[in-house]
């Protein structure tokens, strides 16, 4: 299940949904990313998340499809929020079930790693010194080379 939405999500609800029909799966791995209170030393008050509406869903589906091709997975959920977010708010949820834990861990990390470099989202930070588009991180580009 893939959702791109402005409203917040409920981790507990998404976790329960992820478990539907997973009797054969012994492992559930989830990742939640949220807005931190600091970035590169500047105080962050919040974020604005822009996206490319016609492309976003497709980009996320492609990443999930790749993960399902590489690993034997049960259910996969990806939720990404857009719009204005305050400190501490949730940005993204990735949930993966699998028969074995190694598959679940790898697929979950693979999905967030690729989302970071190939899904059309852009963060603008609101700091004490005004608004600023976030620069892409070299470490995110390096991270995907491991897959």
């Amino acid at each position: 299940m893939i959702k791109v939405q402005q409203q917040d999500f409920d981790q507990a609800h998404e976790y329960q949904t992820l478990l539907n029909n997973t009797d054969a799966d012994g492992a559930i791995v989830t990742f939640v990313g949220k807005v931190r209170n600091h970035n590169l030393g500047q105080n962050v008050k919040g974020l604005h998340l822009e996206h490319y509406p016609e492309m976003t869903q497709k980009a996320l589906m492609d990443i999930v499809q790749q993960a399902k091709t590489r690993w034997n997975l049960g259910n996969v959920t990806v939720i990404h929020r857009i719009g204005d977010l305050l400190i501490g708010e949730q940005i993204v949820f990735i949930g993966v079930t699998s028969a074995h834990r190694k598959n679940a861990f790898e697929a979950c990390e693979f999905i967030i790693d690729y989302l970071k470099v190939s899904a059309p989202f852009w963060k603008k930070e609101l700091t004490d010194n005004g608004e600023k588009w976030l620069e892409a991180r070299k470490s995110d580009e390096q991270q995907v080379t491991k897959w």
């Binding site: 990313g33 998340l49 822009e50 996206h51 490319y52 016609e54 492309m55 497709k58 980009a59 990404h80 940005i91 993204v92 967030i112 989302l115 970071k116 470099v117 190939s118 899904a119 059309p120 989202f121 852009w122 963060k123 603008k124 588009w133 976030l134 620069e135 892409a136 991180r137």
Partner: protein, 86 residues
């Protein structure tokens, strides 16, 4: 079918160009996404620098591509900075 190419810009690039998007007529001189860039720069010379950035990403019909990717009439071509979601 449309005889135009629909161009879109996002995030910092959209703000720099002060433009969400525009349409350009397709003609025989436009074969690749690099040609689309040339037409845009011919129309607005001060777009040269922002569109020349090495880190610029490109998508055709909602799929990421390289600048030698072929384009045809009716395509949606997007330019944007490196993504920062997640």
């Amino acid at each position: 079918m449309s005889n135009e190419i629909n161009v879109k810009f996002f995030a910092a690039l959209r703000e720099t160009l002060n433009c969400d998007g525009l349409s350009i007529p397709h003609n025989e001189s436009i074969t690749t996404i690099a040609d689309v860039k040339q037409v845009l720069i011919a129309n607005k010379p001060d777009w040269q620098a922002p569109l020349a950035s090495n880190s610029l990403l490109m998508a055709v019909n909602h799929e990421m591509v390289q600048s030698d990717h072929l384009v045809k009439a009716g395509d949606e071509v997007a330019f944007f900075p490196p993504v920062t979601g997640g």
